[in-house]
Symmetry: C2
Subunit: 118 residues, 2 copies
DNA sequence: CTGAATCCTGCCAGATACTG
DNA sequence: CAGTATCTGGCAGGATTCAG
């Protein structure tokens, strides 16, 4: 009667899909570094460019655009004599703070584990 | 006296580094899908291969090797008439369960947010 | 300053064949 | 079954230039 339970059925499949969803949104080399910084407040394009070591202008604008498309960040344009654009987490994007905290916590814990070995 | 506080100094830098650490370990297209499955128990190479849509044998073994190098998973080899290898989360790798839960939760929540728009 | 467009390159990863 | 080796095309992403 009871068919052997597949370890990957039921709730599990839902979780796997959810993880795929998240990773799809956050995939790419620079999404997390960008988001992590915006967790602390809005930043200008040039500030992000300076802050994120190694990123190119092309990649920064590409990734920002994707994040904006997914409603995770918002941009605000100021036109004075020289243009200024600020990026910030959207209301929905604020939910990423919890996630980045989890990720950061794991990183800190992992680093401690590594240290103990030496 | 009080220098203007840089939004990206202090604890913040620590968090940014921690996120970089985590993402470095978990970077790559297939790390999370693999880990997510191993959260539910050990699996054979061929089971993972079937379970993860789109992954090639080369990538699977490569990513498994990296995860093993980072002490997140362990492999167990059985030699009967035909070889069998099972992969499981290591003790330290178990800490990834919490992280994957956070990631899955965010994915579920995000999907709901998207739905509401329509 | 904030990008978009173009060109160019390395390496990522798929396909295939082979091994223990 | 559980991988490795080799070969190859495509594309991610860097550098540079142009535009608003």
């Amino acid at each position: 009667m009871d068919k052997k339970v597949n370890v990957l059925s039921g709730d599990c499949a839902k979780k796997l899909r959810a993880i795929d969803d998240t990773m799809y949104i956050l995939s790419g080399k620079w999404k997390m570094p960008i988001i992590a910084r915006l967790c602390y407040g809005s930043m200008r394009y040039s500030e992000l460019l300076k802050s994120i070591a190694g990123i190119s202008g092309k990649m920064l604008s590409r990734e920002l655009k994707e994040l904006e498309t997914n409603n995770l960040i918002e941009k605000e344009v100021w036109r004075s004599e020289s243009m200024s654009v600020r990026y910030r987490l959207s209301e929905h994007g604020q939910t990423l703070k919890i996630l980045t905290d989890s990720i950061a916590d794991w990183g800190i814990n992992h680093r401690m584990q590594i240290m103990e070995k030496w």
